[in-house]
Amino acid sequence: MKSTPHIAHRHRHSAISYPISLSQRLYTFFVGPLLVVLILFIVVKFFSGSSFAIVEKFSLDDLVKALLATSLRLLIAYILALVVAVPLALFATSSRSAETIFLPVFDILESVPALAFFPILIVFFVRLDFLNGAAIFILFLSMLWNIVFTLVGGLKIIPKDIKDAAQIFGIRGWNYFRKVLLPAIFPELVTGSILAVAQGWNITIIAEVLHVYIPGGNASHDLFGIGSILVQAASGGKTDLFIVALVLMVLMIALLNFFLWQKLLRYAERFKFE
């Protein structure tokens, strides 16, 4: 059978594996992040020749606030992406003709790099004096297609018998969405969300450093966040600041992984069709 592009996406996304055994979990949640921190610590100790004292104007408080600011942007962008992605995926798979028309369009749109829109977006948001909007919008765009395509894959593998059973037992409209579709795509929703948020963390490095895209822009145009601190520290040669910011970001990602995504992945097992 010929594999369509959206199915290929589905295979790519569902290839994610996650720990099952206790030892694997311990490694992923504790040993892995600890090793990263340890390596970074050694690098700082031996190569920067300085202690972990936060340099110049950044205190640890500031870094934590920056991390929270970035996390908030990611959260808003993620919620927006979720709100848009679910109806888009439902609409695109609502009929054979909708699939024929919209899935290739989504494929093309996904292929266009989100950052290509960034200079235009910034001009727009500068005029509105809402630079956070530019960052959130670019994060939203970078997350959107990950969720859309995993959901499309999920919707397409709902067994025909399940849909038929829903029809036989009179589950229609909002109840069909709430009782059948949403639970049926829950595993893909979790997988897509993990991929989307990971993509968001990648993009945050760029999304907060706005001065690069503003004609005559300077560091004051950058948004306060862990991404912009990382870039400023790297470009200013402040290795210790860079390392601490990076460690904080890695810790945040590891904590999210441990307390949210892994729990959701385990919970999602119940929703999978055999």
Partner: protein, 245 residues
């Protein structure tokens, strides 16, 4: 006073008149000119080679497929037990059985009474709080049948419900199904690919070949049929000859 033919028609719960089904993608004639009357309370089995059209016919009766031509007269409350159960994996056994009832604006206590009644009938009360993944194939099928019966259907449709089960479980479920059929007096239409299964359960066996009804066999053996020895095998062989002709 109605004459005999009118009386027969009045007792019929399902009437299929010149029903045909044509699929467009791929272009394929699934059913051609099907004429079949099913009496209220009758147990009918549709058998035939794969791709012959028996599941399509069942789905047309269920309202899951629309006939391309002809007329289908059937009651509103038709229910179905699916191959493999088609249970919702995120719902418990209780919640699965309650699914259809919840769409009928019934009170919670009424739903509970009905669910427990049919779980007991299918010997699944002890599993009410289990999830489908924790059940065996036979247990899932029992839940699927309980769910289908719980909505008190006039017609119960079954799409190869026992095809994935071992012989012992299948035999147990056959016995239970016959008991339920006799107790509830429901009309049952079942698709099967096994001639022995059809002969052991149904009053009439409808052989569907090449998209049309090839033959209808009346089975008049007393239950339990498999204990009828030669008479059972005689009926099986009679259908087998037509099946492979």
């Amino acid at each position: 006073m109605p004459n005999d033919s009118n009386l027969n028609e009045m007792n019929n719960i399902i009437e299929l008149k010149n029903v045909s089904k044509l699929y467009n993608q791929p272009h394929q004639l699934a059913l051609e000119n099907i004429n079949l009357s099913i009496r209220e309370g009758e147990f009918i089995c549709l058998i035939g080679p794969s791709g012959g059209g028996k599941t399509t016919l069942l789905k047309i009766i269920a309202g899951l497929e629309k006939e391309t031509a002809g007329e289908v007269v059937k009651p509103e409350n038709v229910s179905m037990a699916f191959q493999g159960g088609a249970l919702f994996p995120w719902l418990t056994v209780y919640e699965n059985v309650a699914l259809g009832l919840q769409e009928q604006d019934l009170s919670d206590s009424k739903i509970k009474t009905e669910v427990l009644k049919y779980l007991e009938m299918m010997k699944m009360t002890d599993f009410a709080l289990k999830y489908p993944a924790e059940l065996s194939g036979g247990q899932r099928q029992r839940v699927g049948i309980a769910r289908a019966l719980a909505v008190e259907p006039s017609v119960l449709l079954m799409d190869e419900p026992f095809s994935a089960l071992d012989a012992k479980t299948t035999a147990e479920l056959h016995d239970d199904l016959i008991k339920i059929w006799r107790d509830t007096k429901r009309t049952i239409i079942m698709v099967s690919h096994l001639i022995e299964e059809a002969v052991s359960l149904a009053e009439r066996v409808v052989l569907i070949k090449n998209s049309t009804i090839a033959e209808i066999f009346n089975i008049e053996l007393p239950y339990p049929r498999r204990e009828q020895g030669l008479a059972f095998h005689h009926d099986v062989m009679k259908i087998r000859r037509e099946f492979f002709k």
